[in-house]
Symmetry: D4
């Protein structure tokens, strides 16, 4: 079936038709791959006909290798992503909030994933609940968003407050920001899973990519 073509590189078996099947193009997860493997995967995706090939969790060596191969590739250092090819025109809008400055890298991965998926993004940083009026001042923006992504470490309390203020779905991303009883993001993860306000869905710790994919699906479906 044409919707299940794969490119077999030996060490990897790329799913060339994933975008047709799931709406999300196959992404190259660069952690645990050599720069050469990541480049080979991106090339295979391009050869397989993808208008855009991209990778996440890219370190400096891999970014350099990508730029050497494709000098016009786009590197987003905060998000640790690279893009080869053309970014689609964005539709819709996702509002991305962070509880603190240190959550910025994960929010950047959300934004990069939205860009790759052709969905618009507005980002507001450092609106943690310790100053709840900062949250309230953002509330008027909820109505314009198709979905709200909330990125928070430490106590992870922000999604509970946001979800009580909007009828938009809240995608919550716990981060590994914090120390001690934050247990590398476990505290924030449990807080978000047990949020007292309904309408909160959760992804893995630091998983900006997963949140971006999900938010893009919701935004696109709302724009249809």
């Amino acid at each position: 079936m044409s919707a299940h073509r794969t490119a077999d590189l030996g060490f990897a078996r790329l799913d060339l038709d994933r975008v047709q099947r799931t709406g999300t193009p196959e992404v190259v997860y660069a952690a645990g791959k050599t720069p050469e493997q990541t480049v080979a995967c991106l090339a295979a995706l391009r050869d397989g006909g993808s208008a855009l090939a991209w990778a996440t969790r890219v370190d400096d060596a891999t970014a350099a290798a990508v730029l050497e191969r494709w000098p016009d590739a786009l590197v987003d250092p905060e998000a640790r992503c690279v893009f080869v090819g053309e970014l689609p025109q964005p539709v819709g809008q996702v509002l991305v909030l962070t509880a603190g400055t240190s959550d910025g890298a994960v929010a950047a991965e959300v934004a990069a994933t939205l860009a790759a998926g052709g969905v618009g993004c507005r980002r507001v940083d450092d609106v943690g609940v310790a100053g709840v009026h900062r949250v309230l001042s953002v509330a008027p923006d909820f109505a314009a968003a198709d979905v709200v992504v909330v990125v928070a470490g430490m106590d992870g309390a922000l999604p509970s407050v946001v979800a009580g203020l909007t009828d938009r779905l809240v995608v919550a991303v716990p981060t590994s920001v914090g120390y001690g009883a934050a247990f590398e993001g476990l505290a924030a993860l449990l807080t978000m899973l047990t949020a007292c306000a309904p309408g909160v869905l959760v992804v893995n710790i630091d998983n900006g990519f997963g949140a971006g994919v999900a938010a893009a699906r919701i935004a696109r479906s709302a724009q249809r």
Copy 2:
């Protein structure tokens, strides 16, 4: 502001305008409340103008107390929910899958929440990955759904497979079904959070209510 009226019962402070603010009517979480408290909460919501008042995690004594007060209340014993008032007309469709028969009670809570939220629901049970052809046989139904809810205990592997077969968002509900290393749903929860396919969002263990609220928001937004 009229969107923040509360009914103060002393032991409870009901949020009468939550439906206006968040699209989801305030629900009475009956666990940890006496039958009298649950009845009083439902009555206050009705008095506050709610067309439908309902409660989750209802035990037999509470169900009886509700029926005594409102003989025409609707009791769903599998979902452990009660409804007082009129269910809205359903729009859209959510596909609810379970991995095994024992996950049925949680799936029933999803379905009840969708009913309360005015969203249509189709449920297919016992399509676990141990017989992956059962999953594949359901795949043609994905296109008709606005969102797919997957309920699974034990290894919690079903959402990973489903998300690879559809461009619909997958809301994953881990259940406490299983024993030993299932650790009361922890194994399924971790599996779902680390799902290798993107497009999976997760709620708390056994939280059919939360999955239903989220799925209803997505379906309503897709139907707009």
Copy 3:
């Protein structure tokens, strides 16, 4: 030294001068004791000169045994406490908030402990962050309190919000309310320990007694 007199009952060794040394009278922790043992402890404290003898975590059988021995004892069924003797005149004021109705029993133990310690108490229930305007509506009361005690289960997010709104110390009490990833209060405990707002101090899960003792010390010191 007179400040270290003990009453030796064999199975228990009561610290008769604890009130002189620490400001808090010895309390009888009834869990794990027979009704007879609890009664014997209360009697020994009274015989040792305590104006008030009291016990926590009292079940029905123990409450009955206490009432049989001291018919004018005061039983608080919500807090599961009994008091033999005279409650002191209250000074100062502690504000006790709960996130939800189900946290009521723990808040009642806080209130009972304050009563035993001679400190005033004002209690406001069900002001969880899912409806953050309920929290804001309580904010004007913070100034009148010597210290604020916040009792919350599930996501345990309320103390983070409260601490950002007041210069009073916040004593946070996680409760075992919730299910699944709440892990019997662990989620709320971790949230409170990692609260992004400073000024939050934490006690053990469901430890209304400990929160009450601490709040009483602060209130008395502020009233000195």
Copy 4:
């Protein structure tokens, strides 16, 4: 409302009036920020009118960047804090005890926070319970203190003993000192949460800042 002015730096949104609202000035948490970001935050706080701007968890590069900008800034290398501006005159007194020499860095953060908050501090190190007479020899100092902060790693047993010897509130700070079953401070944290003596309140592992803020609030309230 003037009590909610913020300085928006894009990556950070500083709460300029927190000291008016909560008694504690906004602090810059330097972990996870670049030296430039920390300097920018300090400058914004100064520009916003703060007599004292300060930061915690400062590494060497950040300390150097601060000194370059403000040559008369005060750097406390043990506490890993920097202060820009004038320290307030101290009132009251907090007694800070450590169980062992290795707990010194956390105790230094407590002391720095008290200095920033304008509260006096007396510190006594290495009085662990393995030599309980060292604890008893400190007991006469408890009466002069408004509150006692106890910093301990490994078994975390010191707060239990101290709380039995005084009517002062005990703020317990578990540290990550130890190895093996100390589990990075978890053992000490659990010990302190389950302390058999009442009057013990707990902060996050290694959270000298949080303990200092809380102790300062209590001391100031006692001095009012």
Copy 5:
């Protein structure tokens, strides 16, 4: 080799010569066995020549079955042990301390095991560190003991203090007494494993039997 005779009951394979090989007679662990199985095991041990056969973790039904078979058996209800045959003459002395009244059942199992092993025992209850002078008042007794067993739940801090006051080995027994962050004895277990005073050895939670066997070996070796 005669030192490895076994009695094969099908469901159990009793080690008849364990006392010769290890100094400790085989004991019947009654938890998870039917009353009939426990009786059969005791009978086989008696038939195999044991002067004393005994069992631990005995419930009421099993105790009754033992008494029916051997009307002169000795039942210790606090320790939940039964003895069939003659207790040996005690030599040496083990000092057994408990931190609280609720730790009594475990201390009773220690005492019963010492009795079965022919070692003397002195028990002092309720000397927890919240009143450290109670511990100090017991210190003069340490010299007369061959070894000290300390039984404690909740914070489990007592062994750390005791070990700093004596040159005797301290065998620490964590108990499941407590709630919340005591985590069924885990907190006390971790405290004891990380005790800041050397000379503390630890057994499983609630394992009075194991502590008794170890203490008996040390006492016998000191008496040789």
Copy 6:
């Protein structure tokens, strides 16, 4: 495809051809099912052509319901299994060892699964490593076995010793026997996963069924 016929009971979707596809007949896991559901599943399997239909984790009510429907069904109370139809003739041999008497129920489930799968079984109980000569005395039997299943709770040390004495594969089954730090079988599970002798494979805690299925596959393959 004929190898993927299913029987759809609404609440269950039975995999009728699993025996052809995987060599193991579909089993009914009765935990979490009503007696009526279990009976319906067994009937559907029989109707689908299975020579033997069987169920595990059967409680008394379900066993009674099965016997009422099929009076000649075989009930194994120790294993908590029921069999409807004819057991196949056994080939090969699996040696099943238990470390203690309390592990018997899990070993019985292994044996029942082998019986259902048509493989012979020899069981030797109570050969724990505390009397290592009991293990050595069984060693001569290893050669006659196609595979060895070792069932052990508490410290779970038996598989490590057995695997060092044989070239047969060892299937290790941790059980929830024990208390305290056994943590419901977690200790035994970790021990078996980290066994210092190679040749040990592990199943879930108390999963006698899984061990039986695996052992049957190995034995049948060795007999081919």
Copy 7:
């Protein structure tokens, strides 16, 4: 007895006859040993008559030391193994699947262990369940294999799907690939232990060696 000869190197006591006793030659686990110790162990095994001496978890320094001593040694850098001597002729066939490219190093250790054990190996990489058709396309190869080894990190869902498609035993190897809630392989481990399809046996996280030894035993027994 000749089957228990050991070579005593002081720091190590090598089991020279393990291959006779268990079918698996003693391997040198190089982690935690100096290069000199590993070389000495390999030499002792060779001197003791082993046709092949080999080591796992070999770092670069150790590989260099081995090559210096035995220039014709075989180094497998992906598997981090070295072989001194002659590899046996392979019999039978084990199919080794990985879920993703990053699982390659562990699969390489499986393959190296099979080579050392004289068993054939076919390896197919990157067939994770996110593209379930990749798994189905491998299904025809199951029949040719004596046993299937499945290596997977993150959600660890692949063994559940594979085991439902074959009557071969599935040896599941969780890997530490992933981040956040993968908890260094714990998520995959729990998934595999609770796999809803029977016929799955599990080894320790990243334990390619253990999986290889077990698979070799099964393959050899099937080939007998």
Copy 8:
């Protein structure tokens, strides 16, 4: 009282009379101390009259600093200990076993502690249970020992086997040797706490010092 003299260095408060009070001289725990602090502590102990001053967990820089101050100090690099002054004459004998070569560093710390405490030591390495005959071959040595210390990582099964073969007390030391489900020594710790053979007492992970102190106390008491 002369038995409680302390040397106050500001950052440390040394217990000069601990040897008189507890039989164990104060040791300097060098982890978390600067080289200068460790040297100062050793000097203070020498000045306070200690015939031997020593430190554990010494890194290279600290060892160099000690040798510079006391050129004739004794450095034990395997045990990471330094000794200043004269080692006492050894009495009695402790048998120290390791399960594997990688456990050597911890066993060396046990031996160093015994040397400092004046007790004899015999060490036998690499006698893990995977080759149980290696354990049996050591069994004749048990009778000559006053106590047996068993050091083991990974599955931690060795103490269970040893304790079944001797009437000597077994002090079990779990080590952090291993990977994956060994969880930095947790697996071995749980195994030892739940050892099926009585007579096993446990210390913290990698705590060779604690095991040495305890073993020395037992040996000295047996020699009295």
